[in-house]
Amino acid sequence: MSFTDLFNLQFLAPHLVWIGIYLILALSLNLINGYAGMFSLGHQGFWAVGAYAAGAFIVHAPFALPGPVLFVLSLVVGVLMATLGGLIIGVPCLRLRGDYLAIATLGFAEIIRILLNNFEWVEASRGLDIPYQIIVRSPETMTSFYTFHLIFTWTMVLVTFIVIRNLIHSSHGRAIISLREDEVASQLIGVNITRYKVLAFLVGAGFAGLAGAIHANFTGLIAPRDFTIIGGIMILLMVVLGGMGSMTGTVLATFILYSVQQLFKLELLNIPTKLAGLTGIQFLQDFAAGVEAMARERWQICFAVLLMLLMISIPQGFFGKKEIWETKLWRRLFGGGKKANLANATGVGA
């Protein structure tokens, strides 16, 4: 693979679609974890429910439907089933908090995965093969297939972003944020905490189901092994690294983490080795080869070590609870920003 291939649609499109899927997952987890302050480790469970509901609907649809209708209906079914899953899991878990909630949601996600692993109706552990709707994936239709999924996924990302942003900026959103800050105090000022906890959980689960349905329609093969705890940790990492309660931070962290993860697998890793080869120094060549082999074969360890270092050095994530335009760096670079404007308008401070 050469450098120019990086800008090839065939190469880039699947990665961009996957970034879109991860963005929907991370943004919806940010609503549960970051804004509502409920520590959920079970997002991969809702993801799996959405993917399997959509896939099973397409495979086992009781009556013949045209492709586009089936496609849209599968998304709807995925979202609804994941929301239902969120209701079933969320309501009993509302009594729990902190680490207990994390472990309980993790337990639910594992139960879902184990059930799917033994559920012959959806082909158990072999994985469910889903026929492509709208555009069949074949060498001739590759470009249109990728274009369609790229546009569709990113439209859905935009929808997710706008819906969650508007929810957060509404009065309901302020109630949800008050849960994170202090549950008892928000109860005292009359916030119905049960209602808002369920609301946050349902919306989060629903969007995870949407991501699952897109995933199922894009890959055409889903298996229980795609939804292990490792996937859940990856999503959680995107949220925590971006800053719990910062949507732009989540977006940035998703791009960075996905790219870093993929970079470990790329051919581009041999650039240092080639450069060292130009110098002609044996020692440098060995060193670069060692680094490349390490990054290539042991990237899981590199990733885990990176994760630990990030968590220890910047536990609040990139932006903390702020959005990108509220950070000091952004203001220094571009000036203004919402708060600065407000200060100028009221004539308070510089």
Binding site: I111, I301, L307
Partner: protein, 482 residues
């Protein structure tokens, strides 16, 4: 009824395993409120340490006088695993979890990671060209980090607040993943047979099973593949060794070509002294040549591989005896070990000053500090105890189930946490009770037709107990502070 009793006994011994891990979980969670996901990897590390100990120091190789019984090797393995794992866990705590509490030095962690990464990954390629430079880079790098980095990182760490619980949890998860993958790299993902539990085939059996017969007259006879080295410490032949198995006396029927062309040097004039085979291959996988024996399955021997095969033969012949413990003995062993450890741990926590300090730190760390308790030391000691038990548990797992692998810790670890919650987190009898109950339930569910769902049972129990009685069966009531 007989089936039920059998299943119940199996469940009891499985539950004892969970209890061993759950004790560490419950103590660590009790004292710093952190779900230490890496604890299940301490269990795995313990199992592999015991494995290495049994491999390199079986009973007949122990530097002790007299004819030692076969379980002496196991006792040594338990000690090695328990202390090795405990020290390892304390190091992890000092380097990783202490900075998370906002107390340790990030520079120390960075130096440790640099050292480990360098030693593991970069040592081999560099030392091939310049060993001294590699050494300078290793030591110099650590020194540079430790000397110059604190200037920047300490200012930084004073400014930042200690990470929240989610950061701590993710760090523990990261450590868990790193240890798993490091173990996969060192030992490969292939499950390893526990040395004592598997009766290895003798060479003739092995050859007839795996290696296609060779035409006689193969060139390249091995020039003394295993130099017979008389062990100075233990001249006795291992008990029950097959006389044909000693590498000093190869039999002509198994390897006709080399035996006829190159008589082993041990037989030249002298009485063949019983020697112990060299034990440096087959465990590690560093250069890609020391593959496990299965690598040769179904392959015919090329001329160049003869020496390698002779080496394998020497390693495998007469090295391992039949499993010295019957299955029932193992079950009793696990149960007795758990009961003794649990009782000692209970005495330690309830009746010693150290235990009192642990309870104090668990109740309120800041108040305990004001009373003159060194909270950091107490937390380190808690990790020591927890990992000590996990190490013992790892060895017992190997003995009981005869197979270890790098991912062995993950699921038992999760279930052990469930057991700790079930019994009431922070309670020692609770962890033992929870572990045993969980093991019993799981085995009975699996035994009566639902074996596919045995892993789901633990999580169902977890959710039920969290909803019905979140403080656990033996846990006290925790009031809510506003």
């Amino acid at each position: 009824m007989e089936y039920f009793v059998e299943q119940a006994v199996n469940g009891l011994s499985l539950g004892c395993m969970y209890a061993f891990i759950a004790l560490g979980y419950t103590m660590v969670y009790g004292i710093i409120k952190l779900i230490n996901f890496a604890h299940s990897e301490f269990f795995m590390v313990g199992a592999f340490l015991g494995f290495l100990s049994l491999h390199y120091l079986p009973a007949e190789r122990l530097p002790l006088p007299g004819d030692l019984p076969i379980y002496a090797g196991l006792v040594v393995a338990v000690l090695v695993a328990a202390f090795g794992t405990a020290i390892f866990a304390v190091l992890c705590e000092k380097l990783l979890y202490k900075p998370l509490r906002g107390e340790g030095r990030i520079a120390a962690l960075l130096a440790a990671i640099y050292g480990v990464v360098f030693a593991l990954f970069l040592w081999a390629p560099i030392s091939s060209s310049s060993g001294v430079l590699a050494l300078v880079l290793l030591i110099g790098g650590c020194w540079l980090i430790l000397t110059y980095l604190p200037k920047y990182t300490d200012r930084f760490s004073r400014a930042r607040s200690p990470g929240g619980r989610i950061a701590a949890l993710l760090t523990a998860l990261g450590l868990s993943l790193a240890l798993q993958n490091a173990a996969v790299w060192i030992f490969t993902a292939t499950p390893r047979a526990w040395p004592e539990a598997k009766k290895f085939l003798t060479w003739p059996e092995l050859e007839s099973k795996y290696v296609a017969p060779q035409a006689p007259g193969t060139q390249d006879p091995p020039a003394n593949p295993i130099p017979p080295e008389a062990s100075p410490t233990s001249p006795a032949t291992p008990a029950g060794q097959d006389p044909n198995g000693a590498p000093a006396a190869p039999d002509a029927s198994t390897a006709p070509a080399p035996a006829s062309t190159a008589p082993p040097p041990a037989s030249s004039g002298m009485e063949p002294t019983p020697v112990l085979p060299k034990l440096d291959a087959n465990i590690f996988h560093f250069d890609g040549t020391n593959r496990p024996i299965d690598f040769y399955k179904g392959q015919s021997i090329g001329p160049g591989q003869q020496a390698k095969l002779d080496k394998l033969k020497a390693e495998h012949d007469g090295l391992y005896q039949e499993d010295p413990f019957s299955t029932n003995t193992k079950k009793i062993m696990v149960f007795v070990a758990l009961m003794i450890s649990g009782a000692l741990l209970y005495l330690l926590v309830i009746h010693t000053n150290l235990g009192k300090a642990m309870r104090a730190v668990s109740y309120n760390a800041d108040a305990a500090r004001l009373m003159g308790i060194n909270a950091n030391q107490v937390i380190s000691f808690t990790f020591f105890i927890g990992a000590f038990l996990a190490g013992i548990g790892g060895v017992l797992w190997g003995v009981r189930y005869g197979k270890i692998e790098p991912y062995m810790g993950f699921l038992p670890g999760l279930k052990a946490f469930v057991a700790a919650v079930l019994g009431g987190i922070g309670s020692i009898p609770g962890a033992i009770l929870g572990g045993i109950l969980l093991g019993l339930t799981e085995t009975l569910v699996a035994g009566y037709g639902f074996s596919a769902f045995r892993d789901a049972v633990a999580f169902v129990i977890l959710i039920v107990i969290l909803l019905v009685k979140p403080s656990g069966l033996l846990g006290g009531f925790e009031g809510e502070k506003v």
